[in-house]
């Protein structure tokens, strides 16, 4: 039971000492991509063989979360005692346990699998949210504590008032990472202001954008960061109960979070009277059925309440009428994972990363025709070109890059000639896309932009909850219409109708899903109009 900062530090010290005895640490990525290739068995087998070979005294192996380079799975890294950085081995097979034993015994090297960490993929990144991903064992709270977990919580409990926390978060300029970019400090403040005995903090882990897996990685690799962020939010806003809403399709994330909550409760970091401070906070997990619309604030709440996951018209806003009609803060996983670092290192430190209007970092999931597919965390304000060509390594094939899609089904396509813009909320919006939650799809010259728009529209069609007419019918109509353009059978009137309908769906739909569904069409219309015109049959 941890009752004070001293207790916490003691555990951290003990753990570090225990780890310090070892000369070597082998870290096997057990994030979803690597796990799907059998990395957990690999980790177990290495452990077994270490024991057989009597290496367990000076070597240890642990499973760690994703470090981002998913295209090179399985990832295994080797940290030698005293070395400033680890050796990263990529494209490892689940059957290669013996090779690592040989490596530890200096009988063999694995040079051909050694990854050059001096590449831009690594050094241009800036890790806050993912700082521990790839280093700590998400199954072990002590490992997290040894890496600084819950330091911020104790700082808050021991030295800060709720108002100080609110000020710090407001100061930091942190904006919501779930897509909207709403200032987190203001959101918290509006809930803190309301007088109510019951308030809730909800973590949005629904992550429904196709191709996005930023939040999954955070939950899998460093679940305590999320729990800590929620507790601090609870303290700042006067809430004592939190919920994490995770899609059931994320079994590993659910498992890690469940374990983390259990351990945190056991160590007294969740529950009643945390650290003898008088502050109580507990967290429960709620599973979502994987409907994209359930990531929308009001639908998510309806779903937690046990109802059909339908959005409702706002206002009333969540700050005065949220979960069970109580004031509620809803934040994205990544937003919450930024909290502890901000508290720990201060708003000033955070503000120095990124640009004034968009502070800090953003995690992106790179997919499509790009060399380094996977997760990256970059400081805001980096140019899109740097992100795609340096960090992402450029096009994966022979063909040149044509456009970048950000923001998933709510976002837009940015043509190659605009890649010099800065990656931040406002610049992306100005150019007709959005930051979104961090999905980034790279498309090369072989891509047809009308088909891309159609793909996202069809996604919205199948994910629409069906409550309001413009979205329910509009997304179906628009998908059908785009089919005509793809088949090159559209007419001039279809072209007019397409534009009008996009406007109506955007302006009349009830929730964000419908309101943003036309964005992929509108942005491709703006930058690739000729591809639509080619779809018009002349007669």
């Amino acid at each position: 039971m941890i009752e004070s900062l001293e207790d916490l530090n003691e555990i951290a010290q003990k753990k570090l000492c225990a780890q310090g005895d070892c000369e070597d640490e082998i870290r096997v990525c057990i994030g979803s991509s690597c796990a799907s290739l059998g990395s957990e068995d690999l980790s177990k087998e290495i452990a077994q063989k270490m024991e057989q070979e009597g290496l367990q005294k000076r070597c240890r192996v642990k499973g760690v979360g994703c470090n981002g380079l998913c295209s090179e799975a399985i990832l295994v890294s080797h940290q030698k005692k005293g070395a400033t950085s680890e050796d990263l081995y990529t494209n490892i097979e689940a059957s290669q346990a013996d090779d690592f034993i040989a490596l530890l015994q200096n009988k063999k090297d694995l040079k051909e699998k050694l990854y050059d960490l001096q590449q831009a993929f690594f050094f241009k990144q800036k890790k806050i949210v993912l700082e521990n991903a790839g280093y700590i064992d998400p199954n072990d709270i002590e490992d997290a504590i040894a890496h600084g977990a819950y330091q911020a919580l104790f700082k808050v409990l021991d030295t800060m008032e709720p108002k100080d926390v609110l000020d710090e978060i407001k100061q930091s300029g942190l904006r919501g990472r779930g897509g909207g970019g709403y200032p987190t400090g203001l959101k918290w403040e509006s809930v803190a202001k309301v007088h109510s005995d019951t308030k809730y903090i909800i973590c949005n882990g629904d992550e429904g954008d196709p191709g996005a897996f930023m939040d999954r990685a955070v939950m899998e690799a460093d679940p305590h960061k999320v729990l800590e962020g929620m507790s601090i939010a609870g303290f700042a806003c006067g809430a004592s109960q939190g919920f994490i809403y995770v899609r059931a399709e994320y079994p590993i994330a659910v498992e890690k979070l469940t374990k983390a909550i259990k351990q945190a409760r056991k160590y007294g970091l969740l529950g009643k009277n945390i650290g003898e401070s008088g502050f109580s906070f507990d967290i429960d997990i709620r599973l979502g059925g994987g409907a994209f619309v359930c990531g929308e604030a009001t639908a998510l709440i309806a779903s937690i309440e046990g109802g059909r996951g339908n959005p409702r018209q706002k206002p009333p806003h969540l700050s005065d009428h949220g979960l069970f009609a109580q004031p509620t803060v809803l934040n994205n996983v990544e937003t919450l994972a930024n909290i502890a670092p901000i508290i720990q290192k201060g708003a000033e430190w955070f503000k120095n990363i990124g640009i004034p209007s968009s502070t800090g970092t953003k995690v992106f999931a790179l997919t499509g025709h790009i060399k380094n597919t996977g997760l990256v965390e970059i400081p805001m304000g980096m140019s899109l070109r740097e992100l795609v060509y340096d960090v992402g390594g450029g096009a994966s094939g022979e063909k040149a890059i044509k456009a970048i899609q950000t923001g998933g089904p709510s976002g837009g396509c940015i043509p190659e000639e605009h890649l010099d813009i800065s990656v931040d909320y406002d610049s992306l919006k100005k150019i007709g896309s959005i930051m979104g939650s961090g999905g980034l799809i790279v498309m090369d010259e072989s891509s047809n932009m009308v088909e891309v728009a159609r793909f996202f529209m069809d996604f919205c069609r199948s994910e629409s909850c069906g409550k309001c007419v413009p979205c329910r019918v509009g997304t179906t109509e628009l998908t059908d219409l785009l089919d005509k353009f793809v088949a090159k059978k559209a007419s001039k009137s279809d072209y007019e109708l397409l534009k009008n309908m996009c406007e109506v769906v955007k302006e009349s739909s009830l929730c964000g899903l419908g309101q943003t569904a036309p964005n992929p069409v509108l942005s491709t219309l703006k930058y690739f109009e000729e591809e639509y015109l080619e779809g018009i049959a002349d007669d």
Partner: protein
């Protein structure tokens, strides 16, 4: 009786000065002042759904469109109910409702007494601006007194709400989502086998279209008795 302190708010709708009780919705105040805002999913006395989007209006100072049926009034707000933008949006939304399923007015039991049809007349919609989808569903004629033809349903959810909020049976709900969404009885049972349906018929009478109707009526003959339900809700509230 204790006098409740009722606050009143003053604002403008289409340039006309209006007043309403502070917790009133825009639509309620407009109705009290005889200003007509088109509605379809709204039904007096039921929780507003904000689903059909026919009642969208503009509020000075924002380019967002908001549904009058759910929006609370604000002191000094200036509301426009009939700009060119709103009118053309409404026409397209109404077109979408007509195009979604299969409304064959000429042979419909509700022909001449249908709120959807009335909207077309009021808005001057003489054809659908969008292609017909004709999403098809099976008719449920299992109940001894009523028929449910989903092909004429506009998913306004009035039936769901009246069954839940007034009858208290919650026999109706929505199955699936998006374009596949459909009103169902219990767990998608035939109506006659629904264990929670009390056969009160409230759903039939709040239904704005010919989707729910009495057995035995033919084209044009189904006249809904909406006032029964509105009066019922009112009397209960007054008790």
């Amino acid at each position: 009786m204790i006098k409740e302190k009722v606050r009143v708010k003053t604002f403008k709708i289409d340039g006309i000065d209006v007043t309403g009780q502070s917790n009133a919705t825009l639509l309620e105040v407009a109705n009290e002042h005889g200003i007509k805002i088109p509605t379809l999913c709204y039904f007096e006395g039921l929780t507003p759904a904000g689903a059909c989007r026919m009642c969208l209006v503009e509020v000075e100072g924002s380019d967002k469109l908001i549904p009058a049926c759910t929006a609370k009034i604000k002191e000094g707000m200036e509301v426009t109910t009939n700009s060119e933008r709103i009118k053309s949006h409404r026409k397209m939304i109404l077109s979408m409702i007509f195009a979604e399923r299969t409304h064959t007015c000429s042979v419909c039991v509700s022909n001449g007494h249908c709120e959807l049809q009335d909207q077309a007349v009021d808005l001057g919609l003489d054809h659908s601006e969008v292609p017909y989808i004709h999403k098809v569903f099976e008719i449920d004629a299992s109940h001894k007194e009523y028929i449910y033809d989903p092909n004429r349903c506009i998913l306004c959810t009035r039936c769901v709400r009246v069954c839940d909020e007034v009858e208290g049976a919650h026999a109706l709900d929505i199955l699936s989502r998006g374009i596949d969404a459909k009103i169902i009885h219990d767990m998608d049972e035939p109506w006659a086998l629904s264990e929670s349906c009390t056969s009160c018929g409230k759903c039939v009478h709040v239904c704005p279209t010919g989707s729910l109707f009495e057995k035995g009526v033919s084209a044009t003959e189904m006249v809904k008795k909406k006032s029964i339900i509105t009066n019922l809700i009112k009397t209960r509230k007054e008790r």
